[in-house]
C-alpha cells in the first residue's frame, strides 16, 4: 500500500502551533484597514494610482512584524498569524453592519465560540470608524452612481447575477492573475527600480502626449519598489534583534542567516531555494495587502523556484529532506494568508468560504506544477515531487494545486499526483497540456508563452506573469446562467420569478411551430443577455481600473513597465476577461425534452408543456416522469443530446470570444461553476428538463446530478464530444470514485489510463474525489469524526463538514463511480 512519509518533527511543531494560534480561530484584523483608511482620509485629492502605492508603502513601514521561533519562512498579513484581512475600500456594508451591531449581538457574532472569525474590541472600533468613512466611498457604493442607468434596469433578468448584486456589486476584488514571481526572484526590486528610474529620467521635462499618465505610473512603481525592499528589511531587523539575545545557539545562527538573506532579497536576485521561496512569500503578502488578491495565483512555482533546488541538490548545499521541509513550510505559510471574500454579496459563496477549522479557504492561492518547459521538454523536478508529497500528507484545503499533464509526464509524478488527489480530496487536479497549449496559441500567445501557462482561480489557463486574465470576471460577476435564456425563450422575454420583462420578444414556447424555431429563440436570447453581461463588465472595468490600479502587481508583470501602464489599464502583454456558463447539461436536456416530447414524438403540445412549467409540474406528474425517466439525458453517451450541448457551447463561446474588453484583449468563455449552480438554481424557474423551481443546476460540464446512468466511460465519452479546445476560460470535470476502485497499485494505474484516454479524446481538465457515499452520510451525522475529510468542489477543495448542508447534499447527489 502506498503511504506518504510522515512530516518532519519541526514542521509538525509549526503546524500545531499555527493550528492552535488564537485558539484555532481566525482573527478579523483591522491593522491594514486602519493604515489604508487613515492614508485615504489625509490624502483625498491625491491621484488614485499614487494613493495605492503610498498606502502600500505606509503599510510596509508601519505594520506589525512578527518572527517566531518555529518560523521557517517569515511574513504575515495581520498583526498575528491566522489573521483575516478585510478590504473595506471595495465594500463596507457588512463591516458597517457587523461593527455597529449592539454589544450583545456583536459578542455573539464575533466573540463567541461559534464565531466565523474573531473580532476584538479594538478592531471593532477600527472597523466602525473605517466603515463609516467608506460607506459612501467604496466601490460598491459608487457603482450605482457610475454605471449607466440602463444597466440597473436589468436586475432580476435571471441570466446574469451581475445586475442583482445591489448594493454589493463591486465588493469583490478583481484579481485572478498570476504575477511575475520569476522577475522578483531573478531581478529583485532593486533591478526593477533601476529600469523604472531610467524611464522616469527619460520623461523628465519631456512629457509629450499621454506621457503624463506613464510618468505617474512610474512614480507609483518606484514607491512600490521602495516598499518591497523596506518590507524585507524590517523582517531582517527583527531577526537580527532576536538573534542578539537568543539562548539557543542553533536558532541564533539561523536567525542571523535569515537576517542576512532578508537584507538581500527583494532588492537583489535570490541566491538559493530558501531565498527564492521567501521572496515569493513576501511579495505574495504585499499583493494581498494591496487587495487584488482574489484568485491570486502562484503560477509555476516548481519552475521559477525549482531550478534553485535542482542546483542546490546537485552542489550539496541542500538535502531532499530540507527541500521537503521548505515545501511543507511554504504551504503552511500561504495557508496562513487569509482573505475575506464576499461576506454578504453572495450568501452561498460566503458560507462556503467561512469554514471554521485549521485551514481556511482563501479562494485565492493556486499552484501549477509539472507540464512542459518553454522548450517543450518535461518540466518536472525535485520540487514538483516535494510539493506533491506536501499536498498528499498535509491535508490542507488551501492552497490548491494543479498538475499539468503531457505525453511524457514521468510515471512517479503521475503516481504521486494520483495518490495525493486520493488522500487529499482532489488536490491536485489534472490539466491537459496537449489541449491547452494549442488553444492558447490560437488565442494569440506565442508558443513559448503558451507552454509556460499556469492555472488561475479555479481552472482558468492563463499566462505566467504576463497576462491580466481577470478570469474570475471583471471584479463583479463571472457566472452566466445558461438556463436564463431558456426561460426567456419560453416566456417571451420575461422571467416569471421576478417579472423582469426586458428580454427579447421572441414569443412563447407555444408559439414555436418547429424545434428549430425554439432553438433560434434561445440563441437570440443567449446572445442578447451575454452582450448585456459583457456590457456591464466592460463599464465596470473602466471604473475599477481608475479606483484600484494595482501598481504592486504591475511593477513585475511583463508589459507594464515597458508600456508605462498599470495592469488594470491594459499594461500587460496579454489581456482577457473571463465569463463562465452554468448549467450546460440542463440546457441540453431542456432542448432534447422539447424536441422529443413536442415535435418528434408529439406526446404533448408545446402549450401543455408550457402550462406544466408555469405550474412547476404540479398536476403534471406523468409528464414530469416521462421527462425524467424516458427522455435521453446528457451524460450518457447519447449523440443526439450530446450534440445539442456541443451546439450551445460553440454558440456561447463564439459570441463571447469575439467580444473585446477595455484593455485591448478578448473575453473568454469557460464552464466552471464553483458552487453557483446551487445558488443560481434556487433563483431559476421550472425548466423543461424536468427541473423543479429552485433545484440546483448541473455543475460545470457535468450531467445533472445523478442523471449519468451509464457509468464513467459513457460520461467521459459525452463530455469528450464537447468542443473543449475552444474554452479559453477553462472547464471543469468532476468525478467521484468509490475507494474500492483505486485500492491498489493497479487501480492507480487504471485511473491514470482513464485520465490519459480522456485527455487524448479532447478533455481539458479532470479532478476527482475518492470517497463513498456512505462515508459522506456518516460525516454529515458525525462531523467531528470527519474534520479532515477534504472534498473538491470546484477549482478549490474544502472540508466537507464545513460546507452548508445544501452544498453537502448537492455533492452527495453527484454520481459515485464504482465497480463491485
Amino acid at each position: 500500500m502506498f503511504k506518504f512519509a510522515a512530516i518532519s518533527p519541526r514542521i509538525q511543531v509549526l503546524r500545531d502551533k499555527r493550528g492552535a494560534a488564537n485558539k484555532g480561530r481566525t482573527i478579523l484584523d483591522g491593522e491594514r484597514t486602519k493604515i489604508y483608511t487613515d492614508y485615504y482620509k489625509a490624502h483625498e485629492a491625491e491621484p488614485n494610482i499614487l494613493k495605492r502605492a503610498h498606502c502600500l508603502y505606509e503599510w510596509c513601514l508601519n505594520k506589525t512584524i512578527l518572527v517566531e521561533d518555529e518560523d521557517v519562512f517569515v511574513g504575515q498579513i495581520g498583526r498575528t498569524y491566522r489573521a483575516l484581512n478585510s478590504f473595506v475600500e471595495w465594500d463596507a456594508t457588512w463591516l458597517h453592519q457587523a461593527s455597529h451591531d449592539n454589544d450583545e449581538g456583536f459578542k455573539t457574532a464575533w466573540q463567541s465560540e461559534d464565531s466565523f472569525a474573531y473580532m476584538s474590541d479594538t478592531d471593532r472600533e477600527i472597523f466602525k470608524e473605517a466603515s463609516e468613512y467608506w460607506m459612501d466611498r467604496s466601490l460598491s457604493a459608487r457603482y450605482l452612481e457610475i454605471i449607466p442607468p440602463v444597466l440597473q434596469s436589468f436586475h432580476g433578468n435571471g441570466c446574469s447575477d451581475f445586475f442583482a448584486r445591489k448594493p454589493n456589486l463591486g465588493g469583490i476584488p478583481q484579481g485572478h492573475y498570476s504575477p511575475n514571481f520569476q522577475k522578483v526572484i531573478a531581478q529583485g526590486f532593486g533591478g526593477i527600480q533601476r529600469e523604472i528610474r531610467e524611464k522616469i529620467d527619460q520623461l523628465q521635462g519631456k512629457i509629450y502626449g499621454n506621457d503624463a499618465s506613464k510618468f505617474m505610473f512610474y512614480q507609483a512603481a518606484d514607491i512600490v519598489c521602495d516598499a518591497a525592499i523596506l518590507f524585507a528589511q524590517r523582517y531582517a531587523q527583527e531577526c537580527a534583534r532576536q538573534a542578539e539575545n537568543h539562548t539557543d545557539p542553533e536558532r541564533k545562527a539561523k536567525l542571523l542567516e535569515m537576517s542576512d538573506s532578508l537584507n538581500w532579497i527583494m532588492e537583489n536576485p535570490a541566491r538559493n531555494t530558501w531565498e527564492a521561496l521567501q521572496a515569493v512569500a513576501l511579495y505574495q503578502i504585499m499583493l494581498v495587502a494591496d487587495g487584488q488578491q482574489h484568485g491570486l495565483s502562484q503560477g509555476r512555482i516548481d519552475q521559477y523556484a525549482g531550478w534553485f533546488a535542482e542546483a542546490e541538490l546537485k552542489s550539496g548545499t541542500l538535502t531532499m529532506a530540507e527541500l521537503q521541509d521548505y515545501s511543507d513550510a511554504f504551504f503552511l505559510k500561504l495557508n496562513d494568508n487569509l482573505i475575506q471574500v464576499r461576506m454578504s454579496s453572495n450568501d452561498m459563496l460566503s458560507k462556503m468560504y467561512s469554514g471554521k477549522g485549521y485551514s481556511y479557504n482563501t479562494g485565492g492561492h493556486h499552484f501549477t506544477i509539472g507540464g512542459i518547459k518553454k522548450d517543450g521538454t518535461d518540466a518536472s523536478n525535485a520540487l514538483t515531487r516535494c510539493l506533491l508529497n506536501t499536498t498528499g500528507r498535509m491535508f490542507l484545503a488551501d492552497p490548491s494545486v494543479d498538475i499539468r499533464i503531457h505525453k511524457y509526464t514521468p510515471s512517479d509524478v503521475w503516481e504521486l499526483a494520483i495518490q495525493s488527489s486520493k488522500a487529499c480530496g482532489g488536490v491536485p487536479s489534472f490539466e491537459n497540456d496537449e489541449l491547452i497549449i494549442p488553444m492558447l496559441v490560437k488565442r494569440g500567445r506565442t508558443l513559448e508563452d503558451a507552454r509556460d501557462y499556469c492555472i488561475i482561480g479555479c481552472v482558468e489557463p492563463s499566462g505566467s506573469g504576463n497576462e491580466w486574465s481577470a478570469s474570475g470576471g471583471p471584479g463583479s460577476e463571472v457566472f452566466f446562467n445558461l438556463l436564463g435564456p431558456i426561460i426567456m425563450a419560453i416566456h417571451n422575454g420575461v422571467n416569471p420569478l421576478t417579472n423582469f420583462s426586458k428580454g427579447l420578444k421572441t414569443g412563447y414556447l407555444y408559439d414555436c411551430e418547429t424545434f428549430e424555431e425554439f432553438k433560434e429563440a434561445f440563441a437570440a436570447q443567449l446572445k442578447y443577455f451575454l452582450d448585456w453581461q459583457i456590457t456591464g463588465g466592460n463599464c465596470f472595468e473602466l471604473m475599477y481600473a481608475d479606483h484600484f490600479p494595482s501598481v504592486v502587481a504591475s511593477t513585475t508583470m511583463d508589459g507594464c513597465v515597458e508600456s508605462g501602464k498599470d495592469a488594470l489599464s491594459g499594461g500587460c502583454k496579454y489581456n482577457s476577461t473571463g465569463l463562465t456558463g452554468c448549467g450546460i447539461g440542463n440546457v441540453a436536456d431542456c432542448l432534447i425534452a422539447i424536441k422529443k416530447l413536442c415535435f418528434d414524438d408529439k406526446i404533448v403540445t408545446t402549450k401543455e408543456l408550457y402550462d406544466a412549467l408555469c405550474a412547476d409540474w404540479e398536476g403534471y406528474e406523468s409528464l414530469y416522469q416521462a421527462i425524467v425517466f424516458d427522455i435521453p439525458h446528457y451524460g450518457n453517451d447519447i449523440d443526439e443530446v450530446d450534440e445539442l450541448a456541443a451546439w450551445v457551447m460553440k454558440l456561447a463561446n463564439n459570441h463571447i470570444s469575439s467580444a473585446t474588453n477595455p484593455r485591448g484583449g478578448n473575453w473568454a468563455f469557460g464552464t466552471f461553476t464553483m458552487t453557483v449552480h446551487v445558488d443560481y438554481g434556487s433563483k431559476t424557474d421550472a425548466t423543461p428538463d424536468g427541473r423543479r423551481r429552485g433545484e440546483p443546476l448541473a455543475e460545470a460540464i457535468s450531467s445533472r446530478q445523478g442523471f449519468d446512468r451509464n457509468g464513467v466511460i459513457a460520461y467521459l465519452n459525452t463530455v469528450s464530444k464537447l468542443p473543449q479546445s475552444i474554452l479559453g476560460n477553462g472547464d471543469q470535470m468532476n468525478l467521484r470514485f468509490s475507494p474500492s476502485c483505486i485500492a491498489n497499485k493497479e487501480g492507480v494505474e487504471k485511473l491514470r489510463q482513464l485520465i490519459t484516454t480522456y485527455f487524448e479524446n479532447g478533455g481539458m481538465e479532470v479532478q476527482f474525489n475518492v470517497v463513498d457515499t456512505q462515508t459522506l452520510y456518516q460525516a454529515q451525522e458525525n462531523p467531528d469524526d470527519y474534520r479532515n475529510l477534504i472534498v473538491r468542489i470546484a477549482g478549490f477543495s474544502v472540508y466537507f463538514v464545513e460546507m452548508p448542508k445544501v452544498l453537502q447534499d448537492d455533492f452527495i447527489s453527484r454520481t459515485e463511480h464504482t465497480t463491485i
Partner: protein, 318 residues
C-alpha cells in the same frame, strides 16, 4: 455467425477495474450452475429473470402506483409512509411480497423510475458489441478489453463464443471470467478466442465445495488442469471467505494445486470477501446467509499472500 444471436444479460459495466488487466468493459451473463453463499451478484444466479426492486428509486404510490394495478398476484402493496427527502414529507412506496411474487415481471413494464426491473434482459449480439466499442479508446491505452462474466458465461456458450469472436475480429483483448463448471468440450471451444481466463478456485475440498457452492469441485479442477495443458492463459481468482475457505489446510492445498500447473498460470488474485454485494440481496428479497461476516483485514490478506507465495508467484490482492 448470426449478428442477431441473443444473450441473456444482466448488466454491462464500463471502467471495470477488477476483472482483468487494464480498463475493461464487463458483460455479465445471467444464470449460474453454482450458488455460492457469498455471491456478490445474486441477481445473476437464476437462468430466468427475476424481479429486482430498488426501493430508493420508487417515487411513491401517490404520484405513480401503476404497478399496483398491473400485479395479478397481489404481491405488491403500499408501505407505511416514510420520509422522502425529495418530496420533503412522508411518502408511501411499494413493498414486494416475495411469497406471492411469481416473477412474472408485468410490473417492470410500467415502472418508469426503474425501481422494479427484471434482473436481466435479452440483448442482440450487435447491440452488445455496439456498447463495447464505445469504450474502445479506453481499452487501447490501458491494455484492457472485454471481460465476459456472469453468472457463468459457459452456460450460454453459443452467445459467449459469438461475442468472443466478434471482439477478436475487432482486435479487442478478451477475458473469460468462469467458475470452470462446464464440460471440457464446452470450455475447449473458447480456447481460440480467449486471451486470459479468470478462473475461480473456491475450495479444494470437494465436500466443502459442495456445502458452500452447491456442487462438487472435481470437474472444475480437472478443467483447470486441461486448460493449463492446452496452453490457455489463466489468472486464478481465490475469494477469501473467512471461516469458509481460509483455513491453513485449504490455503496450502490451493497453493499446491496452482503451483503444479506450470507456466500457463499468469497470476493468482486474492479477493478479500466484502459486503458490498449485500444490498443486492435486499433487492431480490433474498437473505444472505453470510451477512454477519466481516471482511478479512489487510494484514491477514498479506499473511495469506506470503503463505501462498511459497507455492506460486506473482500474487495480487484485490
Amino acid at each position: 455467425m448470426s449478428q442477431g444471436i441473443i444473450g441473456r444479460i444482466y448488466d454491462i459495466q464500463g471502467f471495470s477495474v477488477h476483472d482483468g488487466p487494464g480498463i475493461r468493459t464487463s458483460v455479465f451473463l445471467s444464470g449460474c450452475p453454482l450458488s455460492c453463499l457469498w455471491c456478490h451478484n445474486p441477481e445473476s444466479i437464476s437462468f430466468h429473470y427475476v424481479l429486482s426492486y430498488t426501493s430508493v428509486k420508487c417515487i411513491g404510490i401517490e404520484k405513480c402506483g401503476l404497478c399496483l394495478s398491473v400485479c395479478k398476484h397481489n404481491a405488491l402493496k403500499a408501505s407505511k409512509p416514510n420520509y422522502s427527502p425529495l418530496d420533503k414529507r412522508d411518502v408511501a412506496i411499494i413493498e414486494v411480497d416475495r411469497e406471492k411474487c411469481t416473477d412474472c415481471l408485468d410490473c417492470t413494464q410500467v415502472c418508469k423510475p426503474k425501481a422494479l426491473i427484471p434482473s436481466g434482459h435479452d440483448m442482440k449480439l450487435e447491440d452488445v458489441m455496439g456498447r463495447i466499442l464505445k469504450d474502445r479508446a479506453y481499452f487501447n491505452n490501458s491494455g484492457g478489453g472485454l471481460t465476459i462474466s456472469g453468472g457463468e458465461a459457459l452456460s450460454q456458450i453459443d452467445f459467449t463464443i459469438e461475442l468472443l469472436k466478434a471482439a477478436k475480429k475487432e482486435h479487442i483483448h478478451t477475458c473469460l471470467d468462469t467458475t470452470g463448471f462446464a464440460s471440457w468440450k464446452t470450455l475447449e471451444r473458447t480456447l481460440p478466442y480467449v486471451d486470459l481466463y479468470l478462473y475461480d478456485l473456491k475450495h479444494m475440498d470437494t465436500n466443502q465445495h459442495k456445502k458452500y457452492t452447491g456442487i462438487f469441485n472435481e470437474r472444475i479442477l480437472e478443467n483447470a488442469r486441461k486448460l493449463a495443458n492446452a496452453g490457455g492463459k489463466i489468472q486464478f481468482r481465490f475469494p477469501i471467505i473467512p471461516g469458509v475457505n481460509d483455513s491453513e489446510e485449504n490455503l496450502h492445498a490451493t497453493g499446491e494445486f496452482i503451483g503444479e500447473l506450470g507456466p500457463s498460470v499468469q497470476l493468482l488474485q486474492l479477493l478479500p470477501y466484502h459486503q458490498l454485494g449485500l444490498f443486492k440481496y435486499d433487492k431480490l428479497g433474498k437473505e444472505n446467509k453470510l451477512k454477519n461476516l466481516k471482511s478479512p483485514s489487510d494484514e491477514v490478506m498479506e499473511e495469506y499472500k506470503r503463505l501462498l507465495e511459497t507455492y506460486f508467484t506473482p500474487i495480487q490482492i484485490h
